[in-house]
Symmetry: C2
Subunit: 132 residues, 2 copies
DNA sequence: AATCTTATTTATAACGATTCTAAAGAACTG
DNA sequence: CAGTTCTTTAGAATCGTTATAAATAAGATT
């Protein structure tokens, strides 16, 4: 069980539910984007397990806090998460309401010429909205 | 009343409430960021009027649709609006939970090297998160 | 101005996403 | 195994937002 150690090392007990969610989230060739509801359905299908919605919330937030997931900002009512935790950017397709990754190397270097006294930059995220 | 024509030209009836909200939103030297709750309080103080929360929502959304306000994406539970509708970017101060504008000219040109078949770029927004 | 029509406001109910709660169950420690 | 702590769970509670339907105001028509 490849996730047991990873969880334990993060101070999270490797429970059955967490391990199952790990399977769904991290046992893929490609990273992907999801909403909580989205993920809850995926879990119900992918495994034939019923994990309580509260647990899905708990787990996703725990994983986010540990840095295994990233929350993504789009001005919509939906909250998206990303299993790709590396620095990168996004397209947001306004018609299909879907996210698409943009590799860092596919965005020219971004120079922020303005500085704020006493603050340092934690991240720079580019969101490119697409329409037909 | 300087907003009456503006509203009428947008197909919005210049009601007392809308005109009052226009005062609060657009009668300022500087543009600013706000949340709905935020704005509702400001209205209650600035003017001594009590506008129904539903009307504040309606009006803000109407103004947004007409392009007089911009919604801003940050991954937090709060929905921000901006009275600055020109193309620009933002700092988000994670500690103070506050937005700061970045003029377009303070961000070097952004090259998006990836293209999506059949889609065109509607906007490019940069969000720079700040910490202490 | 009186009347008609349509848009707007309003309080409140309804909603959906998320969080909280407290009890039951599972994981860890010695 | 016994004791402790963490996790899961269903359901209640909460929060921001949207829908509802009646009252009101604006605009158009006469």
């Amino acid at each position: 069980m490849k996730y047991i150690e990873k969880l334990r090392n993060s101070g999270l007990r490797p429970t059955k539910q967490r391990l199952q969610i790990c399977e769904v989230l991290f046992n893929n060739k490609e990273t992907f984007h999801f909403t909580i509801n989205n993920l809850a359905k995926k879990i119900k299908k992918s495994l034939n397990a019923k994990i309580s919605l509260a647990t899905v919330y708990n787990t996703v937030h725990a994983f986010e806090k540990k840095g295994y997931l990233k929350k993504i900002s789009i001005n919509t009512d939906q909250t998206f998460f990303d299993t790709n935790t590396t620095d990168h950017h996004h397209f947001y397709d306004l018609n299909e309401e879907k996210l698409i990754d943009i590799k860092n190397s596919d965005v020219g270097p971004i120079k922020i010429l303005k500085k704020i006294e006493g603050k340092k930059i934690k991240s720079v995220e580019v969101l490119v909205k697409l329409e037909d």
